[in-house]
Amino acid sequence: MSTIDTNAALPELAPVHNLPKGKLGVSLLILSEIFFFGTLIAVYLFYIGKDLSGPYPQDVLDPPFAAPTWAPMAVSFNSIFLLTSSIWIWLAVKALEQGAMARFTLFWALTIAFGGVFLAGTGFEWYGLIAEDGLWLNTNLFGSCFFTLVGFHAAHVTIGLLLMTIVLVLTLCGYNHQRHAGKVDLLSWYWHFVDGVWIFVFTVVYIIGYYG
């Protein structure tokens, strides 16, 4: 064994596929959020139809497939605003990557506006449920589950809007540049996640919960 030439050439280093840490970090955050919302959604599904007393979802929620009414906005109509905002933020990030700051600012502000409309719609809906229908967390199981699940989603929308507003202010003050596109992109991942979760929340609360 000892006769082997110790100065023999070392082998090539194995290729190391290190991932970009920002994107991986946000993906992991989203993974943990998926398990958080997954738990809340599972609980919602578990308690559908187990209420001991009203009001029941059929009494107070907007029917999902009815024509939109204005006050309060039907949730399905309202949801379109949130889902559309994902397109605006995607366009905004593309603009920032190309260095088109004016276009970025426009689409970014549109994203915030559309998210804001959704949040306002949720506010109207909640006002109606609480003030007119007398539904709150302590009313029955439906109230507990509904306000927790939709409330946590709304909280995530709010956090997203706050962060996006900070970026908007920084942009208007001239601190945002093309080279920050990577970081802004990460924020857009979070926003896409918030939109994506809404599809599940909507399905569970307003379709399965309504007809179930």
Binding site: A14, L29, S32, F35
Partner: protein
Amino acid sequence: MTTAPESPRLALKAPPLSRLHEWVVTVDHKKLGLMYITSGLLFFIIGGLEATMMRWQLAWSDMGVVMPDEFNRLFTMHGTTMVFLVGMPILLGSANYLVPLMIGTRDLAFPRLNAFGFWLFLFGGLLLYFSYFGGQGLYGMGSAPDVGWFAYAPLTERTFSRGHSTDYWILGLLVSGFGSIATGINLVATILCMRCKGMSLMKMPIFVWIMLIDAILVVIAMPPLAASQVMLLFDRSLGAHFFDVQGGGSAVLWQNLFWFFGHPEVYILILPAFAFVSEIIPVFCRKVLFGYPLMVAATVAIGFISLGVWVHHMFAVGLSPAVNTAFMASTMLIAVPTGIKMFNWVATMYGGKIRLHTPMLFSLGFLVQFLFGGLTGIMLAVVPFDWQVSDSYFVVGHFHYVLFGGLVFTIFAAIYYWFPKVSGKMLSERIGKWHFWTLFIGFNLTFAPMHVSGMLGMPRRIYTYHADRGWEIWNLISSIGVLFQIIGVLFFAWNLLRSLKKGKPAGDDPWDAWTLEWSTPSPPPAWNFDVDPEVRSRRPLWDKKHPEDPDWKYE
């Protein structure tokens, strides 16, 4: 080989306040790791004292050392402390300290997030213990939490748990749980994004692999706990009905949610033990780890299966036979990858030149005790047997064999192994052996008789028992064992403090080991590596020490 001269930065002692400032604002993974481990050890002493009080109370029938309500607080705080404030910080701290050194990088992926995670953990723990002072609430009825570490509904509802004690349990764990999730994300990102040149995934030290799976489990398992705790908080403070049985809520739902977190959690706790011994046993047997790829596969398998076994904590609830059978099968299944690991460790030792230093002694203690705890675990996985001993001292004996005999013994092994790297000083072998043998004897004296008292029908969580049950002698042996354990821990504390002052200088590589952390000075400087390391095998230092027969020829 001479030792590195003491660093001039350490020789010049800064005034205490500015040294304190240096530690609290640090984002260095080694300092944060040490703070994690130190606070974990301090909480270990608190949790140990709580256990001592309980063993004193139970030493004989009809004792009156503590009152029943105080006893409830003791076992609740003991369990909560040991799982969340001892196990978690020590595993996160050791991963914090060692993972960047082992993968040849300078810090974690997000150093400031790392500091945030640590402080959230610490403040969360302090918030939990603040309940002893602040838990009275409106009725003056609270103190520390007293609902058991898994806080079963509906005992936790406002009706049954007055005051704020349960709220403190929720909030303290919620805050420290956020910290754990943050650090878990950080560790995964570090391992997948920051490995040094040449370190492909299958050339990572096995420690790093196991910690990767562990961190992923943390990221997945902690959010469901957070969600359930938030629901419980809404129940208690806003009057929601999630776990309120009168309002249509379900108490079994809480059990499902808690154990969906709780079972992965016990694997989160035991995986680091596997990581420690998988590093220590090869070094002290002078052989390469047997079956590295299988070890990785077994770790991944354990991670997956651990997400699907939680109902075995609920066999006595009365779920359908089909559900119980399915979870019995999945629970037995997890014994397969665990068994693979046991055989791999034994095969690593086979034919090796075993050096019985203290780290190896503790690792051997782990092998024996973890095997015992694992076997009683398989017994408990059998539904009819579980029905007989559920919630008895048999279960207490089982999980202490796994978590104390398994995890805590390997924590001590790891401290004896890596202390020279961390401090530059060797721990005393002589005191170390005293520490091991007193703790080994004390541990087995305490927990082996619990299997008997459990079979004799002694339920867990009772604060005392009458004389006619025949449980006294077993409880007395258990309590006598505690004395030995205290002596063992005192030996450890003495060894630690003495060696910090006047331990033998360790040098860079006292154990003739093979992973990258041993190629740095002891203690490692803030920048870890002067030169970015390059790695061609799983044992880079072996390749340098034995260039005529390097590992990369075989991998």
